[in-house]
Symmetry: C2
Subunit: 467 residues, 2 copies
């Protein structure tokens, strides 16, 4: 039995365009706009008694279809919020007008727009698959719950309290995240791990006011000088993180794991050329892929101070995020950075650290988990002849750790975004063919999960076995 999809993608694209047109930027968007996006996706799960629920921040959308007694229950997770656009000048077309175009280099049809890949497209196709099950077969193959949050791009500050308070209504044997991304356009992949995240700001303060750079220059410390000196101590020239204690708790990288990673085909030169950098860069002694999959990062995402005029600013600050790997605890990493900043604060200034809420440790799911096996089968059917790669998401999905803790359920990533689709950057896009491929894969996955036994227990037994 298979579902019948549309003969062309025009309806799918038009509907996704409606969704993308709502500029649901969680960082600084208007709450009413965020709510409109919530309402839009809620309207698409009208078969599941959708509710827009308050979380203390932007609302979440929940729903449940529990018409398959005896079958497993799966919680589908995604988010309706999007990243800020960044500089509008850099967008080839307006970020909130989903624009279909043919990529010259590949001949592929693509859909450009903020949120097209992260996470509106991937969520849209799940929901559309479910709608077709109900329309064509009158039922879903397994019980489904839905949770779409509106704060994923700002670290999900209210999700934890909501999920903990409503664990009964969200209970499931397995969580499937429609967020995340498959790794490469030319091979199907499943993610079995994601990195944690810790975000903080470092602010350096000098004098009590901005000063004329002539009248005061050379007499007081300049907070920008101090900040650049301080930040420069956090990595060595070759890209190693040099913050004492940052790596504490990370198990030594085994030769076996390294061999596993190095066995994955990865063209460093093509990767370099795509990014147009003079050279790849990072912790020496490891391949690029090994760095990406096995190493934590300490990234200065933003820096700001003063302006383009003759001033000694009185303050300068940097936004830092760390991507954590298994073994690192966010609190310990925070303490290591605080100690480093205290020890390396240059003379003549004061430093202050503000740690954002919502830090999360890294997450893993055992490759032997039955959900992974079923998902692998689904991908092999949609992409016949291709081997399914077990990959690491070097990004962070804060909800995963929470679901394990609050619901006792592992989370599996099953997204049809691809990692090269300029997530978080100007000109984010989603490949049009992935709408159709994703719907077929979800159909097969849901049928497989509906037939599975003991989906929850297997996961918990093996939790933590993977690094």
């Amino acid at each position: 039995m298979t579902l019948t999809f549309e003969s062309d993608d025009s309806r799918y694209i038009a509907e996704l365009a409606e969704y993308v047109a709502i500029p649901s930027v969680s960082r600084d968007g208007d709450p009413a706009t965020l709510r409109r996006a919530a309402e839009w996706i809620a309207s698409r799960i009208d078969f599941a008694d959708p509710q827009i629920v308050e979380t203390g921040g932007h609302p979440a959308v929940v729903g449940a279809w529990l018409g398959a007694p005896g079958a497993p229950t799966v919680l589908v997770y995604g988010h309706y919020d999007v990243q800020p656009t960044g500089s509008l000048d850099e967008w080839k077309t307006p970020p909130f007008e989903l624009t279909s175009y043919v990529d010259e280099a590949t001949g592929e049809q693509r859909l450009r727009g903020r949120g097209s890949a992260d996470d509106k497209g991937p969520v849209y196709l799940v929901v559309e698959t479910c709608r077709q099950f109900l329309a064509q077969e009158g039922a879903l193959p397994c019980n489904l719950r839905f949770l779409f949050e509106g704060e994923e791009e700002i670290g999900s500050p209210h999700l934890a309290s909501y999920v903990r308070a409503h664990a009964d209504e969200l209970g499931a044997d397995l969580v499937i995240s429609a967020d995340g991304a498959q790794w490469r356009p030319d091979e199907p992949s499943l993610s079995v791990a994601s990195k944690g995240l810790l975000a903080l700001d470092v602010t350096v303060t000098g004098a009590n006011r901005d000063l004329h750079s002539g009248r005061y220059g050379g007499t007081v410390a300049n907070p920008i000088h101090a900040l650049t000196s301080l930040l420069a101590t956090m990595h060595d020239e070759e890209g190693r993180i040099t913050v004492d204690g940052f790596h504490d708790g990370i198990p030594a990288l085994t030769d076996e794991r390294l061999a596993e990673v190095d066995a994955v085909a990865f063209d460093e030169e093509a990767y370099r050329a795509d990014l147009d950098v003079p050279a790849l860069h990072g912790e020496p002694g490891l391949s690029t892929l090994a760095r990406l999959w096995t190493q934590p990062t300490l990234e200065i995402n933003g820096i700001t101070g003063g302006g383009s005029y003759t001033v000694i600013p009185h303050t300068a600050s940097a936004h830092i995020t760390c991507r954590l790997v298994p073994g690192q605890h966010p609190d310990a990493v925070r303490a290591a950075i605080e100690a480093h900043v205290a020890a390396h604060t240059p003379a003549g200034v004061r430093t202050e650290i503000h740690v954002e809420g919502g830090a999360v440790p890294a997450y893993t799911i055992d490759p032997a988990h039955p959900g992974i096996q079923i998902a692998r089968d689904a991908l092999e059917q949609v992409y016949p002849g291709e081997e399914v790669l077990l990959a690491v998401i070097a990004g962070t999905l804060p909800a995963t750790v929470l679901f394990e803790e609050a619901l006792g359920a592992k989370t599996m990533f099953f997204s049809f975004a691809l990692a090269d689709e300029w997530h978080h950057a100007p000109n984010e896009f989603f490949r049009a063919r992935r709408l159709r491929e994703g719907m077929r894969a979800w159909e097969i996955l849901l049928r497989g999960l509906g037939a599975a036994e003991n989906l929850g227990a297997a996961a918990l037994v093996t939790a933590g076995a993977e690094n």
Copy 2:
């Protein structure tokens, strides 16, 4: 014979408030607004056949009163443009509403507003003095020309070509700048030197687009990391500039000059406390005043890149200005910085330097110049019992070097702004009593200059004798 001024300051303050109300920010202001400021100050020199003249940028205001045959001719220089406001949140009252208030700590009446001290107040009082000469005595004591430019705060990019092309119409025995500042509120001072200025931007570029910090972190150089590393190599921990060749051409600081500077009363602890920094900072082995008066600076005025979200930005940049001392040539300093950046560019990124036009070397006037002697007398009469200090303007007045070159005339600074009046910063102010003191001092100065012989020649003979 003395001029009679108003019995109170209300007219002066009301007129200055009109002038401050025109937000003539040269960096990014509307050209029509700049022109309104030009028209305002032109209307105040209606006795001197004022002209608003095109320069290629914001216009200049020129005028001449030449009714004193046989007396010297003096060119009065100032500017009608102002610095950007900086953050409006930091202003206690709106920047373009001149606000009279009593300072709690000192009991002084002050006038808060952008441009009140730099340079609208100091120019206003010169012009008002001239108006009173004409109203009360029917003539000025010497011939006066006026040149008020509209681009001083952006490095006077069009002044040089204008002055060179119109040298005949601007010709004078001496230039007096109503820009600049006296050094301290509690003692009169004259500036005998000012520092030069070189401004440039350093931009670091990594990948061809902003990247998701999870999906790419650890594989490519982050331009902010590279920029902070690069900038951190430009000073050592103690604040010495470590750019090879930066100091080339600067004569060794003599024990005599050092003793002269160190003989000036300067309370480092009060200076530190006023700025509220944990410690003063800069080149070790020199007093704070010696650093300020004798040492060049390399100041990072602004830095920007990325934002407060999980991005590896594709670019980051810094604005740098250098304050130069006698002996340094701007071109050589630029070359030294370019070589330093090339040699210290971290792996994995590209750097680019953009040098702003309008760089100027340092400037000096001999303390024995007759204009300085006359000005000293004027200050001693207005501030009886106070010794007049010969100070260095650690800021830059680009016009000085130009006037010497194009007009063959030295420039003397005679401003009634004070260096502590938060020039270039939020809450810039001007002391109300200085309006009156300044007018009286200009009256005495103009009378003295009118009686002087050979004002021009003495200056040229001794040019360059001072470091």
